[in-house]
Every structure is written in C-alpha cells, then in structure tokens.
C-alpha cells in the first residue's frame, strides 16, 4: 500500500485528464529542508482543509522515510464553526418551532422524525453500496481506467451509475465519496451526485406512475436532469483547482476515518503514515471473515456519518413545514417566472425524497405551468436542505454554493423556456 502511494504521479489516473492536479504551491517531492521543518511544526492555520494527507505520504516516502508526520486537525476557529453550525441550525429550527406555539412544536417533532425514518433506509442502502465499492480497488480495474480516461468517458460512466443504482439523493453522497476516494475525476463525481437522484430507476418509475404516462413530464424531468447534471459536471470539471471542490475525506486515497471535513490524528491516518501499521489499518482487501467484517464496519461508518450530516437539513425542513404554510409560496408564485422560482424554493425547502416528490408535484398540475412543475421535480432532488448537508460528505461549502447557483440558474432558465414554449 505504501509503495503504491510513493508513486504519486501515477496514482489512480492514467491518461491526459487528471482530476486532482498537484498544486504547485503545495509541498511536493522536491521541497527544501526548511519546508520539511515547517511541515513538522506549522501554525495550525497553515493547514487548510484541502491539504491531502497523501501528499505528505508521498513526500515522506520519497525524501524522509524516518520522518514522523502526524495529520493535524484543522484550525480551532474553523473546527469550532464547523462543529457548532449543524448544532446551531438544529437548535435554531427547534427554537423557531417552539416560539411558534405548542402545535407547531409538536408538528416539528413529528415531521423531523417522519423525515428521519424516511431517509434512514436510503442512507443505509447508499452506505452499503459505498462499502461494497470500497474494497474493489477500482483504480486497478481496466474498466475503471477506461471510465476515468477522459471527461466524456467519466461523464457517461457517471450517468450509467446514476441510471443503474436505485438510490435517491440520500444515498448518492456516500457512493460519490467512495468513488472519489478511488480517484474518480471531479466531473464524474458531480455528474453522479446530480444525475443519480433523478435518473435512478425508482424515481423514474414513480414519476411514470404518478403522472400516469404523461411523457412530457417524465421525459422532461429525465432530460432536464441530464442536461443540468452534464452542464454542471462539465463546468466544474474545468475548475482550475478541482481538489478545492472536495473535502479531504473525499479525496483520492483518503481513509474512512478522515471524516468531518478534516483529517484527524488517530490510528487510521497514523497507520497510513507508518507502513508497519498498514496491515492493521487497511484490511479492506482481506478475504473471508475479516473482509466481511471490514465491509460491515465501513457500511456502519458511512451510514452514521451520513445520518449525522443530514440532521441539520432535516430539522430546517421540518421547521419550515411546521411553521410556514406552503400556500404562501404558491400564492406568490404566479406567471412563467415567479411560479418557477416559487416551486423551486418550495422544493428546496420541503426536501421531499425524490422517490416520492412526483406525487406532491401532481397536486400542482393544472394549477401551475408545466415548466414550473418540471422545475420542482428537477431542482428539488438536486438542491434541498437535506442534500446540501449530505453533499458535505463530498464537497466543500464553496463547491456546494457553486453547485446550487449553477443548478438554480439552469433549471430556472429551462423552466421559463418551457413555460413560454408550452403556453
């Protein structure tokens, strides 16, 4: 394992398109001795979130085999904010509902628990799929090399994964993170993250059943999702510093314990830095009972992490549901443009699972233009209070903001176009 890591340039990407180019300003194999000392005792803030432990591994293996490099936690202020934000959002949601009165507070609990029970099966299935993928070492597979050779292949592969895997947005983040760890190009992960919630067979089937063969809606939803996923994926694949888009836990070679958006000092990272411990730290490829045990551990870990990150989104969505009547949005949203904006905001705030939102969208049929209904069906599964927090398993806040902005713009333009075209 360590030997493999000591050849960074060939890591898991063969071909012209390297999704995670090593940044020139980051430490490399040719760093001067002064910088080696800096690495040993830096100010905490000198380590940004995106600092890849693998880079240190490569550096250590190539130049200073005896050097002990411990992964350092992120700066204290950043750490406090990143830990306090989810707790604050949950508390704020509960407090808002409480201030709105007893009924709203009871309904807040009910809707929170309802959403939780609804997402748990999908989070678990995503975690199990991610745990199944993890020991496959896709980087060694010919088909994976072919799939990640260039943007076109990567995009087609991501779409194929989205079409085949029966997971909604709750399960995609864990899989995308695992694919990323295996060296998936940036565009591939993003296309999968955006395409899978809508293009998966369950969602398409439910849309078909809900709209009873209304092909304009069914194909419109699939087609628009495809266009948005491809466009956003391609735009972000040209992002000049793609590794800034992803949290360290989702970068190639990151370990399963590199969660929380930071690399923690501790056994897994430590083991990766100390070859002697590799046999303990990376038993993922062991056959038999040990392999099975690893699979279960991975699944449990992925599941618990996904559940943790989705909690703020769920509580915000529940507070919205319990405190704000949805008709306010619908009353405001009239006309080709405002109806689309209103339904997109409603979809984002309601955070209804993509495998069920078609039934809700049905209620708007006849009341609001078709383009706006499509906007609800496409934007909702891509960007909602739940998914935004789930994206944190893979993406940085900057990337999530960019993603939301691009998705909003593209879906809005398409919805308004549909509204005028079909009027």
């Amino acid at each position: 394992m360590t030997k493999k890591r000591s050849t960074p340039a060939k890591s898991s990407h063969n071909g012209s398109f390297h999704p995670y180019p090593i940044q020139p300003e980051r430490p490399s194999l040719h760093l001067p001795a002064s910088l080696i000392q800096t690495l040993e005792a830096p100010p905490v803030a000198a380590y940004p979130d995106s600092l890849n432990v693998d880079l240190l591994l490569k550096f250590k293996a190539a130049s200073k085999p005896d050097l002990k490099i411990e992964a350092r936690p992120a700066g204290e202020p950043g750490k406090i904010v990143s830990r306090a934000l989810p707790v604050s959002l949950i508390a704020l949601s509960g407090l808002t509902a409480w201030l709105m009165g007893k009924v709203s507070f009871q309904n807040f609990w009910n809707i929170s628990l309802g959403l939780l029970i609804e997402v748990i099966p999908f989070l678990l299935s995503g975690a199990i799929l991610a745990a199944l993928i993890a020991p496959l070492r896709p980087g060694d597979l010919k088909i994976w090399k072919l799939a990640t050779r260039n943007r076109a292949n990567a995009t087609v592969t991501a779409l194929g994964m989205g079409l085949l895997l029966p997971v909604c947005e709750c399960g995609t983040a864990s899989i995308a993170r695992q694919a990323n760890r295996a060296g998936a190009p940036a565009g591939m992960s993003i296309v999968f993250l955006l395409a899978a919630p809508i293009l998966n067979p369950v969602t398409l089937l439910v849309t078909y059943l809900a709209f009873q063969g209304d092909w304009l809606i069914i194909l419109g939803r699939a087609g628009l999702a495809l266009v948005v996923a491809l466009t956003v994926g391609l735009i972000l694949s040209w992002y000049p510093r793609p590794n800034e888009l992803f949290v360290p836990a989702a970068t190639p070679g990151a370990g399963p314990d590199d969660h929380d958006g930071h690399h923690h000092a501790g056994p897994p990272v430590h083991d990766r830095l100390h070859p002697a411990a590799d046999s303990e730290a990376a038993p993922a490829h062991r056959p038999g009972a040990a392999g099975f045990n690893n699979f279960l551990e991975r699944a449990a870990r992925e599941f618990m992490e996904a559940l943790r990150v989705v909690l703020p989104g769920i509580s915000l969505a529940a507070a919205f549901q319990a405190c704000v009547p949805s008709h306010y949005f619908l009353d405001l949203g009239q006309g080709a443009l405002f109806s689309a904006v209103a339904l997109m905001l409603l979809a984002g705030l309601m955070s209804i699972c993509s495998s069920a939102d078609a039934f809700v969208a049905l209620s708007f049929a006849g009341l609001l233009p078709t383009g706006s209904i499509l906007a609800f069906l496409v934007f909702g599964p891509l960007i909602n209070l739940k998914s935004i927090f789930l994206f944190r398993l893979v993406l940085t806040w900057r990337a999530i903001g960019l993603l939301a902005l691009l998705c909003f713009s593209l879906v809005l333009v398409a919805a308004v176009f549909f509204n005028y075209w079909l009027a």
Binding site: R83, P86, M100, V103, S104, Q106, N107, W109, N110, I111, L113, G114, L115, L116, I117, E118, I120, P121, L124, I128, D257, H259, D260, H264, G266, P267, N293, L296, E297, A300, R301, F303, M304, E305, L307, R308, L311, A317, A318, Q321, A322, C323, V324, P325, S326, H327, L330, M350, S351, I352, C353, A356, F359, V360, L362, S363, F364, A365, G366, L367
Partner: protein, 234 residues
C-alpha cells in the same frame, strides 16, 4: 447506536405508530432497514466482545448525533400531527385543499358515477371523498341532503359563531412532510361540548350554508378514540 436505532424503528412498527410519520407502504422497507441495522449493530457488538479493539469505529462527533437521534426516537412519545399547525393553516374556509392532495381528490371524484347521484354510497365516504366532491359547486348542489358518516378531529374556527366547527383530517401522500389538512364545516347545536383536537364521528346530511358553501349538518356526534391510522393515505 445502531441497535438503538433499529430498536426505535422496530418499536414503531410493532406498536403501529409508524403510521404517525409515514405512509404504510413504507412499512416493509422500514422493517428491512431495522433488520439490517440490527444485524449490523449486532455483528459489530459481537466482534467487540469476541475480539475487543480499542480502535474507534467512528469519532465521538459522529456517534453523538446518531445517539441523539436514537434517544429522541425512543423517548419522544409518538403523536400524530397536531390539529392545525402552520402547514395546515392555509386552506380556504370550506377546507378544500389546494396542497398535495388535489390529484388524489380528482381521482376520488373520477371514481364516482356522477350521472346518477342518488346511487352514490356517500355513507362510506371519507373526508377526502367529501372534500373532493364538494370542491365543485355543481357537484355540491347535487349532494345536498346526502347521508354523511365521517370521522375526524375537531378544529374550532377563529371566528366561530358557536354553531359550527371544522371537521379535519390530514392526508399524507408519502411522509408527514407532505401532509395536507382537509377541513369541512359541521353545524351542530353541541359545538360547545367539543374540545379542540377531539376525535369525533359525525353522522348527518350535506347542507348548503347561507354563503353557498357546502357543509355537514350533524344529527349525531359521537366522541371516538383516535384511529390507529390517523391520516388518510390516498
């Protein structure tokens, strides 16, 4: 934590209160999830007993929120959506929904034979059927005098005149996040006896109010226990 989570799901499944949160069509999925979590948690616990390891599976920052979910799930007494929350405050005076049940209502209407209203078995209609039927003035006119036998909870309107209350019930398409409250006015002389949120069975006939809006005139009001499935699942 995983065992506690699965325990919560299994408990809600077994005591029937899962339907307070989710459409019953998800019961099988939740049961499978609970079993998987039980297996996962059980296996990991067994491994820890057989071969104790000091290495943490996940950090405390991950365990604590999951533990919080499990504890809240186990401790919070399951309650269906309360009578009228913010999400339900929206509807028009007659309580005719414009939320996530419009399609369900139109399907309900389409199932009936409107060419021969006298043959409609209205005594078996739920609040969803009635809301759908009375949504249209022509249909409402046809139904005046029809027999009513529906169950719902009491909502006292803000501008009550003491003679009418709203009979309400939630419709849930998927989970309570998409719930919509249906409400229809009931005229009764016993309104003062009724408490907010109380479940009642109303027997009576359809009447047309002075303003032209349809409603029920109760001939019998029977307080009943909350149904096992408090929502209507279209």
């Amino acid at each position: 934590m995983l065992l506690a989570l699965s325990g919560w799901l299994e408990w809600r499944l077994l005591d029937g209160t899962l339907s307070y949160y989710l459409h019953p069509r998800f019961n099988l999925l939740v049961a499978l999830t609970a079993l998987t979590l039980t297996f996962l948690g059980g296996w990991l616990m067994w491994r820890q007993i057989v071969a104790p390891s000091r290495q943490r599976l996940v950090s405390l920052s991950v365990v604590l929120p999951v533990a919080l979910v499990a504890v809240i799930g186990l401790v919070v007494v399951p309650r269906p959506l309360s009578n009228i929350g913010g999400a339900a405050e929206s509807k028009s005076a007659a309580g005719l929904a414009n939320g996530s049940v419009n399609r369900a209502m139109s399907e309900v209407v389409q199932k009936q034979d409107w060419n021969n209203p006298a043959r409609l078995d209205t005594a078996k209609w739920s609040l969803l059927d009635w809301s759908a039927a009375l949504n249209n003035p022509q249909r409402a006119a046809l139904l005046v005098g029809s027999t009513v036998d529906v169950t719902g909870f009491v909502v006292q309107p803000a501008n009550q005149n003491g003679r009418a209350f709203l009979l309400a019930r939630y419709v849930v398409v998927c989970c309570t996040a998409d719930s919509t409250a249906l409400r229809l006015p009931v005229v009764t002389a016993r309104n003062a006896e009724l408490e907010e949120g109380q479940w009642v069975r109303v027997r009576g006939v359809v009447v047309q109010g002075a303003s032209g809006s349809p409603g029920f005139s109760a001939t019998s009001l029977e307080p009943v226990a909350q149904p096992a499935q408090p929502y209507i699942y279209p």
